[in-house]
Symmetry: C2
Subunit: 414 residues, 2 copies
């Protein structure tokens, strides 16, 4: 059979029978409007969308290519590989193929009659070499930084997006419940992590947690037991764990988990690109009292933070409230990391990437808004001994919040 | 216990007891020399190493920071998080801490007395925004592109590196052997992929396959059965598969595998950052003759390519030889993809990333050299029906090659 015919006739049927949800046209229209509002504010006449998650956000596909978006008029999806699949996946009407980046000016000119005066590019991630190439192929066009247009547009989630995050949270709940049957004394952290991944993937977890960053890659298997919970590493996190080698120095290690120690399981799920992050505590036999107490403190801090969550409340103020409470509860020197290495956030926006706006953090003085989704994660760390914490992904509603990760919050004791 | 004391006293012991292998000082010295030879050729006076795998290659750690490397004199490792761990992991002597990128000029001046006239940066990945920031903090210094210095230095592997890749290959072999016990009729592709990941991680697989690219992420679970083997997607690969959603449109899907169809398992392993890639075929019951024949053709093409492998042989010439053989064997229109979408490579350099030099590919007319490591992967694709292929990671030796992925090559029939 010819490939093109097969994709046209069979691909959509097969993919939808296997659970693919394509973005509705109206969803894309609403997103384009949000992005264009930001373009207008910043005097950006057109965008060339390159970064994969910005591209997916506006087109519904992650096939290899560029999206050209003028302030007014129709967007143009230019695809290198694979055209027919992009046509099925994206509700955008104008989809063309290209071979080399040098074809772009002509394709845009054909679509628009004339080229824009400026083009916005994602300077926060676009490589310098590509920037120079764009200067060469668009010699009379000003290149502007469009990064904040995307960060601002994407910080408020639609009902459609929240539904995908909720679904990711439900997969996470099933995974946590199955851990009870999996966790055994003498098992290594990474063995548990691998088996949790296997369960999660069976339910559709995509196996990666995207981060907007040149160098940092996230992962699901953040499973830390006893002393590895007390290890700080490269990430801006209260504790990174040991990991498997100096090349991957975070998350689960080959350490065998022991009885009565705290086992912290921070396991995010990615469904259709949308993430839900959550942390729960496990123990083999009854966890030592010191850690049970600290976990209860985390839960109290978590609840106190959520009590504040509603549109209009200042993010930095919520963070400060948790600092005061941690101090009052006796955890001033272990809250969010060991002394000198304590992080200064308890919440990060989450969606297609896990470092989206807003941050419930020191210095982040701006209000929460309806439709924001945030992972809230107070944690307490004792170097050499272990770490405890709880984390839920929530969305800000009209009057408060909804928890999208509804796994039970008791310590999972096996 | 104080965190710093714990790392100094306990961290090295714990990590080494759990299998961490740190880079020996001499290994780093040899690498520095290779990189400096390239700097000299390109007139680069100093490097600021940022990209994570270049940074790991030269420092032995992946903690968050920058490496400053002058053409002559001692390198300076500047660490943001976490300093004590970097000191344990890296054999570099001069290790200092910093808080903001604005501290860099002063730290470098302290180390060197005066600033260099130019600094090399990895323009192939460094974000534009960071480039502008460096222009601002180093106003009188020329910023040059250092990408090719790294690509050239890293294309030849040391005995130490080849040993880590061999170890990754051995983990892969164990994983493939255990699949026999796992694969069952009615299981989905991703279920198998998840369980293979679980086995691999238990042996130390780090769960990610790094690629030097802004937008493309690789993954281990490239498991394609019957028709999904015929699907082309975003990647420059003969077949991408269906994947789990438009956000992750490659690799294993939720399709249930059926009897007698070809099941292509392309499963890479990452050990201490170093990758070994391999592909084998599976079937539930006896695979249909059409696919057995095509698989035998792949093996014949694979063997014919390896027959040419030794220092001095032209990469493009090897690729052309395989094209002629595929045509002779009757697979002109299915070799390396469907017509119009055929890729033009059968081998990619592999090490810390899986798109390293060399490429055994059209247009890549340069000689193989001793110490190169390459994944060789002839594949045949029938749209709507399935794909077959074989892949091994090899290293070029003085007179020929060594296969680093010694899994048996018969079809795994369960």
């Amino acid at each position: 059979m010819h490939y093109k015919d097969w994709v046209k006739n069979e691909f959509q049927k097969l993919s939808q029978s296997l659970g693919f949800r394509y973005f509705p046209g109206q969803e894309i229209q609403n997103r384009l409007k949000r992005v264009r509002d930001g373009m207008k504010q910043q005097g950006i006449e057109s965008l060339l969308v390159i970064q994969k998650m910005d591209f997916y956000y506006l087109s519904g596909t992650t096939q290899d290519g560029f999206l050209f978006l003028p302030l007014e008029g129709k967007p143009l999806l230019m695809i290198k590989r694979e055209l027919e699949r992009a046509r099925v996946e994206s509700p955008i009407h104008d989809v063309v193929s290209f071979k080399s980046i040098r074809d772009l000016p002509l394709l845009i000119q054909k679509h628009r009659k004339k080229l824009p005066r400026n083009i916005g590019l994602e300077f926060d991630l676009l490589p310098v070499r590509d920037y120079f190439k764009f200067q060469e192929i668009f010699p009379r066009i000003t290149l502007k930084d469009s990064s904040s247009v995307f960060r601002e547009a994407r910080k408020i989630k639609s009902t459609f997006e929240i539904d995908l995050i909720r679904r990711a949270g439900e997969i996470g709940k099933k995974v946590y419940e199955e851990v009870r049957e999996i966790l055994k004394e003498g098992m290594t952290e990474i063995e548990l992590g691998g088996l949790m991944e296997a369960v999660a993937k069976r339910y559709g977890h995509e196996g990666l947690l995207r981060v907007r960053s040149l160098n940092y890659q996230a992962y699901s298997w953040h499973i830390l037991s006893g002393p590895t919970g007390g290890i700080v590493s490269q990430s801006d996190s209260p504790m990174g764990g040991l990991g498997l080698s100096p090349a991957f120095p975070v998350g689960a290690s080959l350490r065998k988990m022991e009885t009565r120690e705290p086992i912290l399981v921070d396991f995010g799920i990615c469904y259709h690109g949308y993430q839900a992050d959550q942390t729960r505590m496990f123990s083999i036999g009854r966890m030592k009292k010191k850690f049970i107490d600290a976990y209860q403190a985390c839960c109290e801090i978590h609840d106190a933070a959520l009590e504040e969550v509603r549109p209009g409340v200042d993010c930095a103020a919520i963070f400060q409230k948790t600092l005061r409470l941690a101090k009052k509860l006796g955890y001033k020197d272990s809250y969010l990391g060991p002394p000198g290495l304590q992080t200064r956030f308890i919440g990060h926006g989450i969606g297609l990437e896990l470092n989206e706006l807003p941050f419930i953090a020191q210095g982040h003085s701006y209000p929460l808004e309806e439709g924001m989704t945030v992972a809230v994660e107070p944690k307490i760390v004792f170097p050499g001994e272990g770490a405890v914490g709880i984390e839920n992904t929530i969305t800000v509603t009209e009057n408060g919040y909804e928890i999208l990760t509804s796994t039970e919050q008791e310590i999972f004791q096996v």
